[in-house]
Symmetry: C2
Subunit: 280 residues, 2 copies
């Protein structure tokens, strides 16, 4: 069976690769890329079937650049998955914790383990471009004084030993990933969601009117976020997720109604609500 | 005159230091800190008068962790400033662009200069914990094959020469910074803003009701963002900025009305709308 080639940003062992595995299981072949934009290009050009892109993290917020890339590349959201981000301290096998002097990871991961560094003042945090990349470099080298903060998957993949599991400050650390494809796909699942982006004049009451479109039809909103457009103080951009499929009669009516009010509107996709992967 | 000791995260030369200078001019002494949390502690303990914290970037989104820290430390927003983020390529004085092999910066900065790296495939991006830190290291060393992406301020401070100005992909790159203090302060300015955080049951129409509180009183909303609370699917957290001072009669009524609907509510502060600093 041909596997779905699924692009992600980062090295093998990155959290995005875990998301590919959690979503597709064995049906996908994860394909690492350097930049988010490379993933979109690979899908555009047919080198990948899907892209797996982080869109928001409960601590770090939304990744607007991926919203921009979705619009620029005109791709469709066809699925989602929410992954608990667990940071683990790992080292070369046999290394004792007291041998470590430096701990490498992506700065976002380091930032999320401040308590750990406060409790271990002798460990110097060092930044690397990617959690998976940090694990890869350590796995390929012989350094016994370097630890890495990364996923369990990275430890497996690069033959590292986990010294401490779950060293993140806040366990409410989840990343929501979107599965992007070239074409819309009929979603499989009970709970469907739709993501849109629209802009509105910046006047009192416009957002209230936009919300009325959904409230009057008892459609639940899952996410709303205004995006500041600096230099365009008279216009606002909104990202919105709501329950239901854009093709259902109720949602179709709501979206038609919204387009009476909005200055710009784009459907990003309808898809099944993703499961939350807690045990990683 | 005693200067306001103003804490920020990063090394001298970081964009946060530019924000301190842009906001306070010569009235402040910028005080570098390792983590965001260190800045909050310094303000709590009186070692700093103010903290200057990034809260959202037009490309990277909101920094939820700073919202969390604001609530945890019970500090007040007393001001804001919006800074255009311009990324510059710099090197040791006299170095020619063709001598460079590696370019160091914070991964967020590298990510925002993808086009530059595509046009210069011989340059290897390397991550460092901070744009200012990258400039500092280069300034202290002698490497002629290393370039750094950082602010004009970092170039000045560490004696580096700017080889190319404004190499970011997207000029719509602004960071909004908040000035935090221990106590509320009477805002000075014509346009006042208020920031709040509240939570609501996750039911159809609740957000509509919350928006009505402002729309019915012609109060403009500047920002809204829902924050997913994973594991609490029945409750949603919202960050909201609106025009006006919380102590004005109109806003006071709106906030009383909101508290009839919201399950939790916290005022983060009323302050003068910040200026947008474009020329950096």
């Amino acid at each position: 069976m041909n596997k779905y080639r699924t692009g992600f940003q980062g090295e093998l062992g990155a959290f995005s690769e875990m998301a590919v595995q959690a979503y597709f299981g064995d049906a996908a072949e994860p394909v690492p890329h350097g930049w988010f934009d490379d993933v979109f290009r690979a899908v555009d050009e047919g080198r990948c079937d899907y892209g797996m892109l982080p869109i928001e993290n409960t601590l770090a917020g939304s990744i607007h650049v991926n919203y921009d890339l979705m619009q620029e590349h005109d791709q469709q959201i066809v699925g989602e998955i929410v992954l608990r981000i667990v940071h683990n301290l790992m080292a070369k096998p046999g290394v004792r914790p007291e041998e470590l002097r430096r701990v490498q990871s992506h700065p976002k991961a380091l930032e999320q383990c401040v308590r750990f560094f406060r409790e271990h003042p002798s460990l110097k945090p060092e930044t690397v471009y990617d959690t998976g990349g940090a694990a890869k470099m350590l796995g390929e080298g012989e350094d016994r004084d370097i630890g890495v903060i990364a996923s369990t998957r990275a430890a497996e993949r690069y033959g590292l030993e986990i010294l401490e599991h779950g060293i993140e400050d806040n366990v409410q650390n989840y990343t929501r990933f979107l599965v992007l494809g070239r074409e819309p796909e009929p979603p499989v699942g009970e709970r469907l969601k739709t993501s849109i982006v629209f802009s509105m004049p910046h006047e009192p009451g416009t957002l209230f009117k936009a919300m009325s479109v959904f409230a009057l039809r008892d459609i639940s909103i899952n996410k709303i976020e205004s995006r500041p457009l600096v230099g365009s103080p008279w216009e606002y951009l909104f990202y919105l997720d709501f329950e239901g499929h854009a093709d259902s009669l109720l949602c179709k009516r709501a979206l038609n109604h919204l387009q009476e009010i909005a200055t710009n509107f784009k459907l990003l996709g309808s898809y099944a609500e993703g499961s939350i992967v807690d045990r990683v």
